[in-house]
């Protein structure tokens, strides 16, 4: 657990010590970085006395580190654009996603239909926009839910220990042993379908998507739990759940943010994979996954059914992953895999 050590920096007065103790290996161009590192380290140490400047200073540092990562910034911009396009989508196309153009079945891109039409005469551009919106919603909701479950289960298991912890770990193991893809497919593929099929899918993806993060949360909580401020809170008579919510979770927030980000892309990817077999969002609703699944089967004869959704989904997942990586590097500068700053 190389990353764990630095995920709870907020109360960490000895940041300065760590940073100073780290050998300055870089020369030349990196000297300014090293100096900056020393400076921020010292600042952190001093700011332990004055809590508010520490907070804003830390955020500024994180922002600076994040902005240095060009791929992550590009990813953030792309995500922003995609979200805007998804929101204003209905005004960007003269067609609704469920409109049928009876004069154009399986037509290649034209002036009227910029991305062509499907077998049933629906406009690909409108469908893609609708699918993008659905995929984004699925990704975001699943990420929030599964990271939430992971945070609660992991933190409670580690804080209380004993049989609660053993139960939680056993359930985590059990869910990891069950091939989740098959079971999600089993339930989602045989549901009655309809407009709300995506809700069921979101629940299933969340229920089977939190286990690995919960383990990490648990091991982080185990070390945070021993800190003095947790002890102090306990001696002041604060209840367990309150300590977890007010003192432990905020201190592993960086991990949770990174985890939620990466869960967004994992959920979109999982929905796409399920959709290829027809286990994803059920018609008449549509997601990027269902479009891509249909398109992939007819790729050689009708490439326009595939190209649009494929480009957008790869852009989306790639950007989310890049932002997740950038966040991890910004939060966790001591990991060697990140940019030294």
């Amino acid at each position: 657990m190389a990353r764990s050590a630095c995920a709870f920096r907020r109360h960490n007065v000895w940041t300065a010590v760590i940073v100073v103790a780290e050998p300055i290996e870089h020369s030349g161009a990196n000297d300014s970085k090293a100096a900056e590192k020393l400076a921020t380290g010292n600042a952190d140490g001093m700011m332990a006395k004055a809590a508010i400047p520490l907070q804003s200073n830390r955020n500024r540092l994180l922002l600076k580190r994040f902005l240095r990562n060009k791929t992550a910034v590009a990813g953030l911009i792309v995500i922003g654009l995609l979200i805007i396009v998804a929101i204003i989508g209905p005004w960007l196309s003269p067609w609704d996603y469920d409109d049928v153009d009876r004069r154009a079945y399986l037509k290649p891109p034209s002036f009227e239909h910029p991305m062509g039409t499907t077998q049933s005469g629906r406009d690909m551009w409108a469908l893609t926009l609708h699918g993008l919106r659905k995929s984004l919603v699925i990704g975001l909701v699943v990420a929030v839910l599964s990271t939430g479950i992971a945070a609660i289960v992991g933190a409670f298991a580690a804080y209380y220990g004993g049989w609660i912890e053993r139960c939680a770990l056993w359930i985590i193991d059990l869910l990891l042993v069950i091939p989740s893809f098959l079971l999600i497919a089993l339930v989602a593929g045989n549901s009655s379908g309809g407009a709300s099929s995506w809700v069921l899918l979101v629940l299933l993806l969340s229920v089977f998507g939190w286990m690995l993060s919960a383990r990490v949360v648990r091991s982080l909580t185990l070390s945070v739990r021993r800190n003095e401020y947790v002890l102090a809170a306990r001696y002041m008579g604060l209840s367990g759940p309150k300590i977890i919510v007010r003192h432990i979770l905020p201190n592993i927030a960086s991990l949770l943010i990174i985890d939620a980000t990466l869960n967004v892309s994992a959920a979109i990817l999982a929905e796409t994979s399920l959709a290829y077999f027809g286990f994803g969002v059920q018609p008449p609703d549509t997601s990027l996954g269902t479009l891509l699944g249909d398109g992939a089967r007819q790729l050689s004869s009708f490439p326009w059914l595939f190209a649009g959704p494929a480009t957008i989904i790869v852009l989306l997942i790639l950007s989310v992953n890049a932002v997740g990586d950038g966040l991890r590097d910004a939060f966790d500068p001591s990991s060697a895999s990140s940019n030294k700053s």
Partner: protein, 334 residues
């Protein structure tokens, strides 16, 4: 050591049994084998449908707990995993399909891991240079593209190449095809069929492992023992290979154990797109075909694979890492 191992195996066995039973419960309540018969034309007599389903322990009119008793007794006493709704023994089917999966994933997963480790090691020693950034981006891209998209694109590319060159160098339907009867023709034919899925699996594996290996390698490159080795006068290349690489392989190997285990059921896309009738393909087909027993058996097999992967990973760590001892006995080399 023996006690530790026994305790571990017992826990795994319990996990697997519970997981299998939960899968059965889910499959038996969600899947509807009756629907297969009801849509047939000309319509089948309801009584004979019922008899058919009952003879295979699939009727939803029999109470759930009775079906569960029959199902579990068959497995415990006869190692009989049941019948599919159309007839056909689930166990036999799986026995045959496991080997298809083995043939499909062996080459691809090994190549993917090897190439990934090579790229990861190389890029870690060149952190932030152009080559490092390029490969890091490519790996990120590889992980961001759904695997069926990669497979479909490969297929289109191969078709195009076949038409352009006017040959049938790329084969992408099934495991074998028509081939001459000269010595080695059958083997070449098999390899031709394996080529595309192996390339797809290799791309995915290389993307995954190069990321892991790069991260771990960077951690060990910046660690004290590598610096010590360099300070004692060891050339950089030897310090990297003898000290940094060796240590960094430990976590990568555990990932490898897991990823191979999950590939048995996880290579479903490759199997379906390239028509290899392995376990992943079976899992999807059983769910689409309302096959309760087949789906449960596949889930149980998948769970077994994960646990074998976990066990394998533990042994690999014990073998590679001299600091780890299982229950007091030194394992492997010192």
């Amino acid at each position: 050591m023996g006690f530790y191992l026994l305790k571990r195996l017992l826990n795994y066995a319990i996990l697997l049994v519970v997981a299998t039973n939960l899968s059965w419960l889910l499959a038996a309540t969600q899947l509807n084998p009756r629907s297969l018969y009801e849509v047939s034309n000309p319509p089948i007599d309801p009584v004979s449908i019922e008899n058919n389903l009952r003879s295979r322990n699939l009727s939803d009119q029999v109470p759930l707990h009775q079906r569960w008793v029959v199902w579990s007794k068959d497995i415990i006493f006869h190692w009989d995993w049941g019948q599919s709704p159309r007839g056909g023994d689930v166990g036999e089917e799986i026995e045959r399909r496991i080997w298809v999966s083995v043939r499909l994933i062996t080459l691809g997963s090994l190549l993917g891991a090897a190439i990934g480790v090579l790229i990861g090691t190389w890029t870690a020693t060149r952190q932030y240079r152009l080559s490092d950034r390029t490969f890091t981006f490519l790996a990120l891209l590889g992980l961001s593209v759904p695997s069926f998209v990669i497979a479909s694109l490969l297929q289109v590319f191969a078709t195009w190449l076949n038409t352009v060159t006017g040959t049938r160098f790329f084969e992408f339907v099934g495991e074998t095809g028509a081939h001459g009867d000269w010595f080695g023709a059958a083997l070449i034919d098999r390899l031709q069929h394996l080529l595309l899925p192996t390339v797809a699996l290799t791309i995915l594996g290389a993307a995954f492992f190069s990321r892991i290996q790069r991260n771990v390698m960077l951690d060990s490159l910046n660690s004290g023992y590598v610096r010590t080795a360099r300070a004692k006068g060891l050339p950089r290349s030897r310090a990297i290979v003898k000290h940094a690489l060796r240590v960094s392989l430990i976590p990568t190997c555990t990932y490898f154990a897991f990823s191979v285990a999950t590939l048995f059921v996880g290579a479903a896309f490759m199997e379906i797109i390239f028509s290899f009738h392995g376990m992943g393909d079976y899992g999807v087909k059983t769910i689409q075909g309302q096959d309760v027993h087949g789906a449960v058996a596949t889930a149980a097999f998948g769970g077994l694979c994960v646990l074998m992967g976990a066990l394998l990973a533990d042994f690999m760590v014990a073998w590679l890492d001299p600091r780890v001892r299982l229950g007091g006995t030194t394992y492997g080399r010192q």
